[in-house]
Symmetry: C2
Subunit: 394 residues, 2 copies
């Protein structure tokens, strides 16, 4: 995958001591000119300080963003007034380096909840980053925001004379509506705020809001998009821009699930034949979140009854006698039908197991009730998930 | 624990070949006289045949129950019209042995979804059970309904001149509202149907509806209570009867969580200071179901941020700045306060870890918003849960 630099943006990642293992742990993105920006944030009632801080900045109609600073190690959540003050101080230091106002800087944090930001380390990190910024720093920045991620997550598209490139992090605490996930996407297109907001809302709905690792929704989930106009191209075709942004978001969202904590399989759960899309989404999420379904995926066990069961408790009316279920191959094509009319078929079980042992496949449940459909990307629940989360802090 | 026989009831459990490992797999309870009966059933839209069958019988005002037959191995769910016919045929065979009408027999099934009931084995089992019934057969019946359970679950109380004794099974697919759990409770008190229904609804609300193993709600969950009046004592004090029934239900529900699949710890999650009970319940269930909270319990990691985070996404308004959190000892007494005003205290972390390494303790989250409170019983999420459910059918 080619990661295209975005005109007018520079980035860097480095290590400042937030992670005991010595990995890079802080990243900075700077735009040479003010950006229009939009954000989508966690709906958790317990919001981290950087979420509250960024929401306040973006609530201003005249917000003109110049930089985003992101740290790992501490989520700066449940840290009270001091947490907000630490976010503000970090932004102010970045503003000094960039030559802008503190209110032109957005902040992102991920890591342990309740730990105050180690400000000495943050200050060292910001100072170091100021001398490291490069137009091709995307991979460096992506690596520096990893926590339990095993690989950096980047995506990039070029259309209509402008570029959209983004990075994301996230591997656990991934629920259907946002996650312990951060994403920063930059474009050199020129676009007004309201267009960015519409495009981001549409793009996240079909990407970051369609992923499940463990069903937990974090205190810090944030997706930011910044448009600095440095390409000289104004977005004329909003639909094309939205599609390109959605493409970047979908690549990043899929990368999060593929790198889900302990995940060994990437599974797309399709729900078709629903009476309406809301019902399809509720059922797809219920299946994709079920611990029993996800452990069966892990064990490559075509235990389709667990899928029907999870559909049944999604709170959506359905007729069990009309349900049909297929396993899909990696391309999404039907491979093996397991259920028709709500009852099992005499399918080829060894073939089903063999398919489920591959790293990427899907399942499609048809409700036989209408024409609405949707999908959710999920992963399996493995021993390693338990290992990773039983002792995350140590 | 003493398990008191219940006058007029006999039971037995035996092996008929439903379980390849040769363990007992079918149980029968018979009352010498007709019983008033009440049931609480799964709210899953995909209901197993025995659930539909029992609901139809209990919908008749003149239902007079003489027997309950329970099998493991096959859940008789997603089995269509043949599944209902198999439930009916099983009931008819039991009725022949007992000397009653088929409609006087209730059926329970648990096991793999979508597998037709192996009727040859069931017929052999029912015939054998007919010659084995004993007043002290409770432990034998409880053992015969086990699936991934590691131990039988029984409870018994005597009050006011009558006895209430019950058995239950369940270890996985245990969600806050019922579970892959079956429970049969018998009393020799005389009680009208409406009293039984009220008492069972109240008792399940504070027992089987307050437990979580994995958040999955099964297709088969059923709690039955049968009252045959053989003690000659009519229930005069409904509150006392309800309390005694609730005691039996609570013992059985706790036994299910203690034996949760892979569980190493029994944790009571209390929520206090809520504005209303519905909010308290939603938050307690969210905490008790969170995979991240449960893996932290497994790892004895006082990662209180995950508890606040799970409270935050329960869909209930709360003020993060008013949250307080304690670890409780096995008696429910506060042991260590971790959080006050939404922020961490400088608590004794080694002591917290040591407490969390014990097999039974609790956590209390106070919302600082009102006087309502509740609790949920849960267990940890361990490597063994994944092992058990990754390959359940094999």
């Amino acid at each position: 995958m080619t990661i295209h630099p975005v005109t007018g943006f520079t980035l860097a990642g480095t290590h400042c001591g937030l992670k005991p293992n010595g990995h890079d742990d802080i990243a900075l993105l700077v735009s040479e000119r003010p950006c229009q920006a939009a954000g989508v944030f966690t709906t958790n009632r317990v919001k981290a300080a950087p979420v509250l801080y960024d929401q306040a900045i973006l609530a201003r109609p005249d917000a003109a963003i110049r930089a985003v600073i992101a740290n790992t190690g501490s989520a700066n959540a449940c840290t009270g007034a001091q947490g907000l003050e630490n976010a503000r101080a970090t932004a102010a230091q970045v503003a000094d380096i960039v030559g802008c106002a503190p209110d032109d800087v957005l902040t992102l944090s991920t890591g342990v909840i309740g730990m105050p930001l180690p400000m000495d380390a943050i200050r060292r990190g910001v100072a170091t980053l100021g001398g490291m910024l490069r137009a091709d720093g995307w991979a460096s920045a992506a690596a520096a925001v990893m926590t339990t991620d095993t690989r950096p997550k980047l995506a990039s598209v070029q259309v209509g004379g402008y570029t959209i490139t983004g990075i994301a992090k996230g591997a656990g605490m991934i629920a259907p509506n946002m996650a312990t996930m951060l994403a920063v996407i930059a474009t050199d297109a020129a676009a007004p705020r309201d267009l960015l907001e519409r495009a981001l809302a549409a793009a996240t709905e079909n990407s970051f809001n369609r992923i499940v690792v463990d069903g937990d929704m974090s205190t810090n989930d944030t997706v930011l998009v910044l448009a600095n106009g440095a390409s000289g191209v104004a977005v004329a075709d909003e639909a094309a821009f939205t599609a390109a942004l959605a493409d970047v978001c979908a690549q990043l969202a899929q990368a999060i699930v593929r790198d889900g904590e302990g995940a060994t399989k990437f599974v797309t759960v399709h729900v078709t034949g629903a009476a309406d899309e809301a019902g399809a989404v509720a059922i797809a999420r219920s299946i994709a979140t079920s611990a029993l379904v996800k452990t069966a995926f892990y064990g490559a066990d075509p235990n389709w009854g667990r899928i029907l069961c999870a559909a049944g408790y999604a709170g959506v009316d359905l007729d069990p006698g009309r349900l049909a279920l297929w396993l899909l191959d990696a391309s999404g094509a039907p491979a093996i039908q397991l259920v028709a009319g709500g009852q099992p078929l005499d399918y080829d079980e060894p073939a089903a197991i063999a398919l489920m042992q591959t790293p990427e496949w899907g399942a499609r449940l048809d409700l036989g009730a209408g024409a609405a459909s949707t999908w959710v990307w999920t992963c399996d629940l493995s021993h390693d998930y338990v290992t990773i989360n039983g002792h995350y802090r140590t």
